[in-house]
């Protein structure tokens, strides 16, 4: 994919089997044209699935070519053992290929035709056309995939994390955002005003989340903006964080701004429809400047599937500080108050899955370690407001569910799990543990009448 930015052509690179947040725009100099490029088999009908298909099928013969990747610019180590399926290819140490000139590119195919040899060695499709092309491909060749109508119907009826095919093809459009004390590199596409694709930096007001492409404008805005915290009712406060509850219908602008912002960091989030049917629970830290938004989760006012979280995000500048666990914990606290079991909306992102798994593991292992001799999966769920499926998932994932020779299922507190928990506890002792204290939540589950849901009153 190519696009001319700031006078020079730049190429959009997607690293196969890596998350799109690591995609980047690179200049032509970084593309190694001396090597043979492995073209995706053009006759394959599912162009959209090329990435995944090839990962499975191409692995055996992928000796040195397309599956070698380097994370040169972002300079991140590929650490640990990758999944078994791709381990052969990935065992070639990435560090060998760290030189920029050796960068190999797998192109993302957005066109159904076989690439012509006289072409540049890239599939060149205008960004703007990508969506249309993808749509055409979908519509013409893939009858097993969703039609556009089905997609829209799915968007309408399911929650906010539903993604449609054309949007998966979107590429990151914003260069950088400035928010509060930080400059952040966005991860994904977000439908901010189209004018912003040309600016170097989008300035986002930390309190009202308004966005400006010009620093002067932003400074002017800051001189006028009087908002100092998320514009809703504080429902929880401890000495570390506060939670604000915000109704998407009452604070439409703010919630839209929040969604635009979070779309930068959430791939599977749709902004196709408006924010009205959601409540936003925003976590903020406080100081003399105001309440700084750290993360949030949204929640459908009424979830048909029993989800207690729609989107959940800790802003990148606050990630890996334990805020995610607080958010998750708080979402389950709300579910407990409602007397319901809850589960996050699917699909989860990779980070989301890990976050939830860590939380589930901690909660369930703690519960099992209280000295009980018997446990029942439903009761575990009821005590934690987790669905039985999630409990099952957690136990299984930790290899704690075993089948004995006595023809019985048992729950095994494995040494590994206990050890992990002890280590974690030791760490908490050193660092101090942040928790949500249920007593500090002043909240009653809001009730919405049928009229307010159907008529947007």
């Amino acid at each position: 994919m190519i696009q001319t930015r700031a006078g020079r052509p730049k190429f959009y690179v997607h690293y196969e089997d890596f998350n799109k947040r690591l995609d980047e725009w690179i200049e032509a100099a970084r593309i190694d044209l001396s090597r043979e490029v492995e073209w995706p088999a053009p006759e394959k009908p599912e162009k959209k699935k090329v990435a995944s298909n090839k990962a499975d099928k191409a692995t055996p013969k992928a000796d040195t070519k397309s599956l070698k990747r380097s994370r040169t610019q972002l300079d991140r180590e590929v650490s640990g053992t990758p999944s078994e399926a791709t381990s052969v290819a990935n065992n070639a140490p990435p560090k060998v290929q760290r030189k920029e000139s050796e960068l190999l590119v797998t192109t993302e195919v957005t066109d159904g035709t076989t690439p012509k040899p006289e072409d540049e060695e890239m599939d060149i499709v205008d960004v703007q056309d990508a969506a249309a092309a993808a749509k055409a491909v979908n519509g013409n060749t893939n009858n097993d995939q969703y039609s556009r109508e089905d997609e829209i119907e799915k968007l309408r009826t399911s929650g906010s994390m539903t993604q449609n095919q054309t949007e998966i093809a979107r590429v990151r459009n914003i260069e950088k955002v400035q928010m509060g004390k930080y400059e952040i590199e966005p991860w994904y596409f977000s439908p901010y005003p189209i004018d912003f694709i040309d600016v170097d930096m989008v300035y986002i007001c930390e309190f009202c989340l308004n966005y400006y492409g010009d620093v002067t404008q932003f400074e002017r805005h800051r001189s006028k903006c009087t908002l100092l915290h998320p514009p809703g009712n504080e429902i929880y406060r401890d000495d570390y964080v506060s939670f604000f509850e915000i109704d998407g219908r009452r604070q439409r602008t703010w919630c839209r701004n929040l969604c635009l912002l979070s779309k930068l960091f959430l791939d599977h989030k749709t902004l196709y429809y408006d924010v009205d049917p959601f409540l936003f629970y925003c976590m903020a830290t406080r100081d003399e400047h105001g309440c700084h938004l750290v993360g949030y989760f949204s929640k459908e006012k009424e979830s048909a599937e029993g989800y207690n979280v729609a989107c959940i995000l800790t802003l990148p500048q606050y990630q890996r500080k334990g805020f995610g666990k607080l958010l998750i914990d708080f979402s389950y606290l709300l579910s407990k108050r409602e007397g319901k079991l809850g589960s996050p909306e699917k699909p989860l992102s990779d980070l989301g899955l890990l976050g939830y798994r860590a939380y589930w593991q901690e909660i369930i292992v703690d519960l099992l370690m209280d000295g009980r001799t018997e446990a029942n999966i439903e009761d575990l769920g009821a005590a934690t407001a987790m669905t039985t499926n999630d409990v099952l998932h957690t136990l299984q994932n930790l290899n704690m569910l075993r089948y004995t020779s006595k023809n019985q299922h048992v729950v095994v507190l494995t040494d590994a799990v206990i050890e992990q928990r002890e280590r974690q506890k030791a760490k908490e002792k050193v660092k101090g543990k942040r928790t949500i204290e249920p007593d500090r939540l002043i909240w009653k589950p809001p009730v919405f009448s049928a009229a307010s849901r159907t008529w947007n009153w």
Partner: protein, 597 residues
């Protein structure tokens, strides 16, 4: 991840989520050689999209975690790499001043972003440059940034309303004159002064952007075909599920709208009435104040003129109202006539004015007040009203009694304490006579609680205070104020069926019952006619009605005992016992409590 082992040796039971499972430590279970162990536990999906599940970093972390869970070895902490956030070069302290003070209570807030950001247009660096130039060129009051933004914002918004499709249909930039006529309160005086000059700049900017809004804005749906594929179109309205249109449904909707309309209308009317009332109250307060002031003036004058009449009527409104118009004339006369002729005329005029302003004191001829509203000319007196009301009540009771009697014609009312006493003449006043004896006749104790006294047959009073009440056949025995009730002993003679003569007693002091001997007790055996009545109306105590009644009583008793103290309950019981013994003439259910009212 895939542990599908084919060729099972035996059937395994399915995992039940309801079943209690043993919790064991690892050392407690025998190690199973193969990983058959988990093969029958269905794999739960991760919830991550299939295409992404295989992503390198996720798999790396997951397998590391798995390794940790299984082997327990020290595994390096892995994380999924994400693009970095770095500290910004902008001066945070300048942009975000320390303004926040945390309130003691949780924040409650409902202002929207629009409420809190002031003028939505923010100056760009070009605007700043232009404005600096402009202020340099033009002497006099400089145009402030706020004025500038206000003007631009006004142009923008007006354009938006006048040319909603400006960015689609290539309409020309609006002329200044078109904009000027739209000036309203959203643009301040100070900004208007510069509006014409700013317009030129705005037009330039607008043309540069091919007449699109200057502030970048989100793309909303335009109801065009291209909407769907456009990734920048966001926040569409979630369309409401279409309901099938039928005539019935249409009518229903119309009804609903009508009702809504009416309710809104009502609410509006109510509000306007409330407003009127409040205005009237304000007027009245002003009036009262004036009255007070003029009264005090009058008092001053009186004092000055040494008129010695009591000031009462000047001080209290209520008293003034009670003086009717007839002696108003007197008083006017009193005020003026007895005065020596030497007194000046002026105060007389004053008093007239005062009287006119006191409600109810104005002369009859004065139909309207000075402010044009009607004087409440017919003064209503409390006594009249009360008398009227009493009459109304008496009439109502009388009427209902008649009606009831008519209903009961030819029937015997066998209910306990019927509304209409069965075929009994109203006892004459003289029926009850005070007995002046020193020695009281022995009688069962009277009912103690006064609540039991409003009992139709037994109660009457000899005192003549409530003559009017006596007309009604339902009587309410109020103890006279002068004598303690229990000290009065009253008797009544009446003629029962078959010419029997009965003497009813009330208020007779209790004698020691224990002192009775069999013979004496026998003497009173037929004192009440309850036994006779029971014979007349034989009742099957086990029939459904009675059983139900008793159950009800039982329940009532329970309720009561839950609330009332034990003492009260025992008192009740005593009262009932007494009642059963003393009250005669009507059927009494055994142990029944029924308090009238």
């Amino acid at each position: 991840m895939t542990q599908r082992v084919t060729g099972q040796r035996f059937r395994q039971r399915k995992l039940s989520v309801k079943q209690n499972l043993q919790v064991l430590r690892e050392k407690d279970i025998e190690q199973l050689a193969d990983d058959d162990a988990t093969r029958h536990i269905p794999k739960v999906e991760t919830g991550v999209e299939k295409g992404e599940e295989i992503e390198h970093h996720l798999q790396a972390v997951i397998s590391a975690a798995q390794a940790a869970a299984q082997s327990g070895g020290k595994i390096a902490q892995l994380y999924i790499p994400t693009p970095d956030a770095v500290a910004s070069k902008l001066l945070y302290e300048d942009l975000y001043p320390k303004r926040f003070t945390q309130p003691a209570t949780y924040i409650r807030f409902s202002s929207t972003v629009e409420d809190t950001i002031g003028c939505p247009y923010c100056m760009t660096s070009e605007d700043v440059a232009w404005l600096r130039q402009y202020n340099k060129k033009h002497k006099g009051v400089p145009c402030t940034e706020d004025d500038f933004e206000q003007a631009i914002n006004f142009f923008e918004e007006t354009t938006q309303t006048k040319q909603p499709y400006a960015n689609v249909d290539n309409s020309p930039v609006l002329a200044y004159e078109d904009l000027e006529v739209e000036f309203d309160e959203t643009i301040s005086e100070s900004a208007r002064r510069f509006a014409r000059d700013i317009y030129e700049h705005w037009k330039q900017e607008r043309l540069r952007k091919s007449n699109r809004p200057l502030m970048p804005s989100l793309k909303f749906e335009t109801n065009l075909e291209t909407d769907d594929a456009d990734p920048y179109v966001c926040f569409r309205r979630r369309e409401v599920r279409q309901v099938r249109k039928t005539r019935g449904r249409d009518a229903q909707v119309t009804e609903k709208l009508k009702k809504l309309r009416k309710e809104l209308e009502d609410a509006r009317f109510l509000m306007s009435q409330v407003k009127r009332r409040e205005l009237l109250i304000r007027e009245q307060l002003a009036m009262d104040k004036m009255i007070f002031q003029q009264r005090s003036e009058l008092k001053e004058i009186k004092r000055r003129l040494t008129i010695k009449v009591d000031d009462e009527e000047l001080l209290i409104n209520q008293r003034v109202r009670f003086i009717n118009r007839a002696n108003l004339v007197n008083r006017c006369g009193m005020l003026t006539c007895p005065q020596p002729v030497s007194k000046p005329k002026a105060p007389r005029v004053d008093t007239q004015v005062v009287h006119r302003n006191i409600p109810g004191m104005g002369p009859k001829s004065q139909a309207t007040r000075p402010d044009g509203r009607l004087v409440d000319s017919d003064l209503v007196y409390l006594e009249d009203q009360q008398a009227k009301k009493n009459e109304l009540i008496d009439g109502f009771i009388e009427e209902n009694l008649h009606k009831h009697q008519k209903w009961n014609q030819g029937w015997v009312d066998a209910t306990w304490r019927p509304i209409t006493p069965p075929l009994e003449q109203a006892p004459a006043k003289s029926d009850f006579r005070r007995v002046f004896t020193d020695s009281q006749l022995p009688t069962p104790p009277t009912s103690v609680s006064s609540g039991e006294n409003n009992n139709v047959t037994a109660v009457d009073k000899s005192d003549k205070q409530n003559a009017s009440r006596r007309n009604a056949r339902i009587r309410f025995a109020t103890p006279p104020d002068d004598v303690p009730y229990h000290d009065q002993s009253r008797f009544r003679r009446r003629t029962g069926r078959g010419g029997r003569i009965m003497v009813d007693r009330r208020g007779v002091k209790c004698q020691k019952i224990e002192g009775f001997d069999e013979r004496v007790a026998d003497r009173w055996n037929f004192a009440g006619d309850s036994s006779e009545d029971e014979q007349i109306y034989p009742v099957d105590w086990t029939d459904n009605l009675h059983i139900r009644y008793r159950i009800m009583i039982e329940r009532q008793g329970e309720n009561k005992s839950a609330q009332a103290a034990a003492a009260a309950a025992s008192q009740n019981r005593k009262a009932i016992e007494n009642h059963n013994r003393s009250v005669s003439g009507h059927l009494l259910p055994p142990g029944g409590i029924q308090r009238p009212g």
